[in-house]
Symmetry: C2
Subunit: 480 residues, 2 copies
């Protein structure tokens, strides 16, 4: 019998069988216990080490489970060959404490004057109501809210969304046509995977939302950029293009902010019918128009079932619910449902249930109305501050809706503008990555998001920008 004499520490928090197993594994790996050798029987080793048979058996089971030994009928355990010995890294001895520094750096402090696009109002967030809905969700049937949920997303939530779409966006659809996903990029990825669109040509606004263009590209689609006229997508350019689908933002072009007029909507639908193509309508922030009513979705005109509609709670509520809803045209619904059957739903059923309660109680409708007023106030503050501190040095693009606008800074270059802003403690952004060829983005364009900032911060941020870009006071003269 081979000698097995480990140091076993009975005071240690590591169980004895674990110490024994680790010791034997090391001995096998180091060659001290040789390939093919027979291990002592449980009874023998139990007597030798004065340990219970249970302890020995558990250690042996582990060795067998990991393939270090095999159990042979009536001849006990035999050590197996290791073709390429693991060099002690199974449980590396180094502490894990040192591996965290880099990630902590990532959580860097954000500037107070950060005109980042994508942030939403936080101070006026309905904490108490949302908290109540979250707690309410916890009390729902665990089979509904703790598991994977329905592949398309909760039927009750989809009903609620269908009703909302009907009332607010003029979109009439059944809950069966709705598919939830944890973000618009996830929704577009599913369209690429399941329609499928992989390998197809997709026409897309240029400039247009880079996050979606990337998803198309990463699914092997050919993205055909279609330029914009002063009133959105160029239908002249589109009419020359054959494409499986066109991606558009008709209610509020991203990033330039124009509304696609009714004539172009009709022409777009006509194009889709003639080319047997689909229109992917991304209605990302249509809730926030500051002049007149929200404009009905293109989908509302879709008699021919050509429009795949995408809506999201990221702007109308908070990004953190990670909830995008896709409305499929009726003729595609059944096939899409079947293909989606192999996929787990990516939206948390728990958050879905909380969102359902929030909508059902009428909180969501009130929240949108409240936020529309609030964003309108911010938007006014933003434009007033720009007028006041920048005057005729700049022009504003896309100022009727949404949570951002584009500033055209006359006779200046982006790099200089960004640098000067940074020196003044203000973060502003270039929109250039939304152009297929970023070089086509006018160098005078700066993107300013304001959804997450309050009026005072907006005013002070813009004041600092004006100061940094145009120098003390000089613009006041220019301006009047």
């Amino acid at each position: 019998m081979i000698a097995i004499t480990p140091w076993l520490d009975k005071e240690s928090s590591t169980p004895i069988y674990m110490q024994l197993y680790s010791f034997m594994k090391q001995e096998i790996e180091s060659g001290a216990i040789k390939e093919g050798s027979r291990l002592p029987s449980i009874r023998q080793l139990s007597a030798h080490l004065k340990l219970s048979k249970n302890t020995i058996e558990t250690a042996y089971q582990q060795l067998v489970a990991e393939g270090y030994a095999e159990s042979r009928l009536r001849s006990g355990l035999r050590v197996l060959a290791l073709e390429q010995p693991p060099s002690g890294t199974v449980l590396p001895p180094a502490s894990a404490a040192g591996i965290r520094s880099q990630s902590q750096k990532e959580a860097s402090v954000r500037s107070r004057y950060d005109f980042r696009y994508g942030d939403v109002e936080q101070e006026a967030f309905p904490y108490a109501l949302w908290r109540k809905c979250l707690l309410g969700a916890l009390q729902c049937d665990p089979k509904e809210v703790f598991g994977y949920g329905h592949p398309q997303g909760s039927p009750a939530l989809r009903s609620e969304i269908a009703q909302y779409l009907y009332q607010s966006r003029g979109v009439s659809c059944s809950p069966d046509q709705i598919f939830l996903s944890s973000g618009t990029q996830q929704a577009v990825s599913l369209l690429c995977q399941l329609l499928p669109l992989t390998g197809e040509t997709i026409a897309m606004e240029n400039p247009g939302y880079e996050g979606v263009r990337t998803v198309f590209n990463n699914h092997g689609c050919t993205v055909a950029p279609i330029g914009l006229d002063h009133d959105g997508l160029s239908l002249t350019q589109l009419s020359r293009q054959k494409a499986k689908a066109v991606y558009v933002t008709p209610s509020h072009q991203f990033p330039l902010g124009m509304v696609l007029p009714i004539q172009k909507r009709n022409k777009l639908l006509q194009w889709a019918g003639e080319h047997d193509s689909f229109i992917i309508e991304d209605d990302y922030d249509s809730e926030f128009r500051y002049q007149g009513q929200p404009i009905p979705a293109l989908k509302a005109l879709d008699n021919d079932e050509r429009v795949i509609y995408l809506g999201s709670f990221s702007k109308s509520f908070i990004p953190a619910v990670r909830l995008t809803y896709t409305v499929m045209p009726l003729p595609l619904t059944q096939a899409f449902q079947q293909r989606m059957g192999s996929y787990s739903q990516s939206v948390s059923p728990l958050l879905g249930a909380a969102m359902l309660l929030f909508m059902r109680e009428g909180h969501f409708e009130r929240h949108i109305r409240r936020m529309r007023r609030l964003y309108q106030t911010k938007h006014k503050a933003m434009i007033a501050a720009i007028m006041n501190h920048m005057g005729n040095h700049v022009e504003i693009i896309g100022q009727k809706a949404g949570l951002h606008l584009i500033l055209v800074v006359h006779n200046r270059e982006r790099d200089e503008l960004l640098q000067l802003a940074g020196q003044a403690g203000v973060h502003v952004y270039s929109p250039q990555h939304h152009w297929t060829d970023p070089g086509d983005c006018p160098s005078s364009y700066i993107m300013l998001g304001f959804g997450g900032m309050n009026g005072d911060i907006i005013e002070e941020g813009i004041r600092r920008l004006g100061q940094a870009w145009f120098g003390s006071g000089s613009h006041y003269e220019d301006n009047r």
Copy 2:
């Protein structure tokens, strides 16, 4: 001036300007107000209808925004041409109430004796603790938990996961190497999109997890099925295969349950090195082994940085957190980070923060220990009931770990088995879709998940199955 005489209902909840706008839109669409005609000025119409100028202006703005009219300097509003008139569907008159029937059917009642795979324990779920963590998350910095969050997922949560992986799975990695996503299929989709794997050959266990095979196929990968030996993936078959990556479940083969022994792990790593390929290790339920300690992950042996590791909270906690963590090999990390920069994180930052608190307070570690004991009890109850009620009519495959097992029912066909089970009010499932060619799945295989059932239900479910399949009492004789 054209005559505009709408019926305006001052008692209606629809605002007057909205009624006016709808009326005018209909008039334009019907042709009653002709293309090119000039609309009355705001002052004129205000006087005519005895409405405030604001009301008229708001209605007009909406018409302009949607492209029904355009504003001309000094000549007021002019009606534009509609090339293809929308046929009144902008806000369809039908009620939305009728569109819900089908979805409600989907939420069909599930059988009490449902051996569905994927459910987890619910009765012993730590409600109070999880509730506390959710509320704690609501109190975190809104900038962290209400927005989109870090593209890779919260740095603090990734640190916590790195520590967990080190302590529980022998995996040493930095939080920078970790990428979160709202499910394992989402993680695999990102790998396909960003490594990228689109168009590549991916070797995969056959049988193997169908959900992932589907994702590979839907990204244009060629999936090369690799058969299984009695101890997992056939390395003989793999060695003949050139593939960009191989997808494996070494800790607990899905669905057949074997553990890949150390020799094969070493050979697999060697294969990856020789072919410059990657190993995608899906460690989906490794927390639950009922004999010995959890087996260290293959990733723990990965000196050559070949293993992409996938782990999930769906089994170790609940599916509804929708949280999968991917550990990228160091050489791929930086490029993957950059590419992921264009993507929004799909995991809810709110749930991420709650999970962080749950882990940081030690609740997660305790939860796993408790669940391991609980699942072990269920597992024992399951096996005892099978022995008792089915005896030597059946064999069990994969009975050392996890939340499911495969039953081999001698001399019977699946369709008959499923039908008889259904008649007895018991839901059991065929595992055949996990075979590349479902026809290769032995017709005697039935898959039984037990994670979400308690001991009594398991016992009664198996008793009913035995009764339905083998008739009253007959198996008792067979069995002894």
